[in-house]
């Protein structure tokens, strides 16, 4: 089990194996299962993500009646050519919304790393597969890259909003996704971890203040921010930009920042958006 991203880079240098295979080997060793079994499990999770993406239903609404249908609006605008950021990013935005809305509507999703942040990684990976025509094996390899980054983040910091705020959920998902895209773009180990660092850095300090305590406002649209941020950071890293603060130190900063967040901004519903006039009105209307 890796305690730092730099340990993964050291292992790459020592063995000559790619990032994804180092993570696969480590999982096989830690859980004492054959590599084929770990590979098959990751493949089934990727299939579940694609199934969840394909099963989006724009007519569904969440228990609060506030979430649902927004992903379809972006798809519509995309078809009309009205999305300024272009067909690739437009699809990423639509897919992130759709997955997070499906989650709010009690559909089956893959927690990555959590239910609240389940839209980020599939939005970028499935769009990459559709638009850039990668082989399925390559996509599974990218999933291992994402999982390896997430494991280090969970080890050094946290991945739940209650512990570390939104930066720990959407921030971690964005960091994992950025590393995975860098890999798909042909980035080496260093480009992968610097993309991950750039993405996490950009989300430091984000709070967990969901309205009425539900995984809806602002969680659903934050999935879009995490996904778009991941693409931008992978592009930066692959262009040769590095994080001036080393990746492991960025993760440590996320932990420190999370611990410094007041209780009211860590999934308690006692601060931020949850305590706005409208936020409170929504809460009262749902729970009355």
């Amino acid at each position: 089990m890796f305690k730092s991203l730099s340990d993964i880079i050291k292992r790459i240098k020592k063995t000559g194996l790619p990032f994804w295979e180092i993570i696969l080997e480590d999982d096989s060793y830690e859980r004492q299962v054959p590599k084929e079994e770990s590979w098959a499990k990751m493949k089934s999770l990727y299939h579940e993500m694609k199934l969840a993406d394909a099963s989006y239903d724009k007519n569904l609404r969440s228990a609060s009646n506030l979430a649902g249908g927004d992903g379809a609006k972006v798809s519509e605008a995309l078809e009309k050519g009205e999305i300024l950021s272009g067909p690739f990013m437009g699809e990423v935005i639509a897919k992130a919304l759709k997955m997070a809305e499906s989650n709010a509507c009690m559909k089956r999703i893959v927690a990555a790393p959590t239910g609240g942040s389940c839209g980020v990684i599939p939005a970028v990976l499935i769009t990459c597969e559709e638009k850039l025509r990668f082989s399925e094996d390559k996509m599974i390899e990218a999933m291992f890259v994402a999982a390896g980054i997430g494991q280090v983040i969970a080890e050094r910091a946290f991945i739940s909003g209650a512990e570390g705020g939104c930066q720990a959920e959407i921030g971690s998902a964005s960091s994992m996704a950025a590393g995975a895209i860098s890999y798909l773009k042909g980035g080496d180990g260093n480009k992968i971890i610097h993309a991950a660092a750039l993405a996490l850095k950009s989300m430091l300090g984000s709070t967990c203040d969901p309205v009425a305590g539900l995984v809806e406002i602002p969680c659903i649209k934050r999935n879009v921010m995490g996904a778009v941020n991941a693409v931008a950071c992978a592009d930066m890293a692959c262009a040769g930009i590095i994080s001036r603060i080393p990746p492991d130190e960025v993760i440590d900063a996320m932990r420190e920042t999370g611990l410094a967040l007041p209780d009211s901004l860590r999934e308690t519903g006692k601060g931020g958006l949850a305590q706005t006039k409208t936020g409170k009105e929504i809460k009262n209307s749902i729970w009355s």
Binding site: M106, A147, G213
Partner: protein, 220 residues
């Protein structure tokens, strides 16, 4: 955490703690009952009570009691399925002492008349803990095959149980002992590395001084 705690589980949304964890509490309770449940009075504590409805915590608990896992597409319609399968359920709020904010007390009656009271907590990420069975404290995660023996607090019962496990070549991963007072009700919670055979569980039930045996198998 292994990489599949990071990517995964496959679950019905929206929340790993309020939905997936709640299904698991229900499912573990169903397994501990070891028979179909016909009546479930469910008491929600803390955040489960405050925000459970919007997270489908109620649907999730009933789904688990019906034997569903956290990725079952039928979770949103569990109330309807409960009606078909003649499981009566009710929900109320409760304030429990010294428990995690995401907790529930389940009072369950089985088809044979068997009755159990279980308190379970959802710790986040779908991980859970069973905290209390029939008023006695226990603490186990459901990640191991778990044997729970209620007995009269008198010498020899731990030896009875551990001798049986030793005889069956079952290794003990964790063991906890609780009692409500000297010579009163006692409980041992034994988390094992291997499954305990069905006939051994049945044999334990007949041992003098043993009041009740529950067994959580990881097999489907």
């Amino acid at each position: 955490m292994n990489i599949y705690d990071i990517i995964g589980p496959v679950m019905v949304g929206p929340s790993s703690s309020h939905t997936a964890g709640a299904v698991r509490i229900g499912l573990l309770s169903r397994k501990l009952m070891d028979e179909n449940i016909i009546k479930a009075d469910i008491f929600l504590h803390g955040s489960f009570y405050a925000t459970g409805k919007g997270h489908g915590t109620d649907l999730a608990l009933v789904a688990g009691l019906l034997g569903m896992k956290e990725d079952d597409d039928r979770i949103p319609s569990s109330f309807h399925i409960a009606e078909e399968l003649e499981l009566q359920y009710s929900f109320s709020g409760i304030i429990l002492r010294d428990v995690h904010p995401n907790s529930a007390l389940l009072k369950l009656t089985g088809i044979s008349g068997k009755y159990m009271e279980i308190i379970g907590s959802s710790l986040g990420g779908g991980r859970i803990m069973i905290n209390q069975i029939d008023g006695l404290n226990v603490n186990f995660s459901g990640n191991y095959p778990t044997l729970i023996v209620h007995n009269i607090d008198e010498p020899g019962h731990i030896a009875d149980v551990t001798a049986m496990l030793s005889h069956k070549s079952i290794n003990i991963a964790q063991m906890q002992l609780y009692r409500d007072g000297r010579g009163g009700n006692a409980v041992m919670v034994i988390e094992c590395d291997q499954e305990v055979p069905y006939e051994s569980v049945k044999w334990l039930e007949k041992v003098e001084g043993v009041v009740k045996v529950s067994y959580l198998s990881l097999l489907d």
